[in-house]
């Protein structure tokens, strides 16, 4: 069975510092991997995805993520965090033979302080 783990409930970072949100997965085969962000009372906004190709994926708002097959990880990163990046971040995975059935992690609350 597929699963996604986000080991940190919350990440605190000062504005201007690097931000990392961790995600590991367990899926057979070659998964599709996604990051979404949710602001209060809003929907899920797509940040980036990994399907195939270059392990470093660049997405919206200056975020990037690195696919590491040996460690089955897909950590989200931003070199310099902004206060406006404070939100709930979800990692999601879907195996290629079960498209659309995204399995979400529990979410990580990011708090960026001025």
């Amino acid at each position: 069975a597929q699963s996604v783990a986000q080991p940190e409930d919350q990440v605190n970072v000062a504005e201007g510092n690097p931000l990392t949100v961790k995600c590991t997965y367990s899926v057979s085969g070659n998964p599709y991997l996604f990051w979404y962000v949710q602001y209060p009372n809003r929907g899920l906004q797509f940040l980036l995805k990994y399907i195939t190709g270059d392990n470093l994926v660049k997405g919206s708002y200056g975020f990037e993520a690195e696919f590491n097959k040996s460690q089955t990880s897909f950590h989200l990163k931003k070199p310099s965090a902004l206060v406006s990046d404070s939100a709930l971040y979800f990692c999601a995975v879907t195996p290629p033979d079960s498209w659309g059935k995204l399995q979400f992690g529990a979410g990580t609350q990011v708090v960026v302080t001025p």
Binding site: L44, P96, W99, G100, K101, G105
Partner: protein
């Protein structure tokens, strides 16, 4: 930027009543989905829909749930007889193709009392 639109944003209903949640996917998208998020819990897959039929559904999506694309633009989720545990945020999503970026709507918060 194209959006997935969901209405209403918040619905309160009495236990046992039927509710219909409405979604307008992005116009050139062919694949449609419903997810739900119970307060404080993970976002969970309910159902995927393509070519006017259900492609896959989760264990949550029992006989009380149904989906329909009644016309060329709307995609609805019906809960026949709501239970207290159906209270959640329901998200509609669509995608142009499989493995593409899934665009989510802002959600409908359903409260069953």
């Amino acid at each position: 930027e194209p959006e997935v639109t969901q209405t209403p944003s918040h619905q309160v209903t009495q236990m046992g009543q039927e509710v219909i949640l409405r979604c307008v996917p992005i116009s050139n998208h062919l694949y449609f989905y419903w997810y739900r998020q119970i307060l404080g819990q993970k976002v969970e897959f309910l159902v995927s829909f393509y070519n006017n039929e259900i492609s896959e559904k989760s264990e949550i999506f029992d006989d009380q749930f149904s989906v329909e694309r009644p016309d060329g633009s709307n995609f609805t989720l019906k809960i026949r007889s709501t239970k207290l545990e159906d209270s959640a945020m329901y998200f509609c999503a669509s995608s142009e193709r499989t493995g593409g970026g899934y665009t989510f709507g802002s959600g409908t918060r359903l409260t069953v009392v």
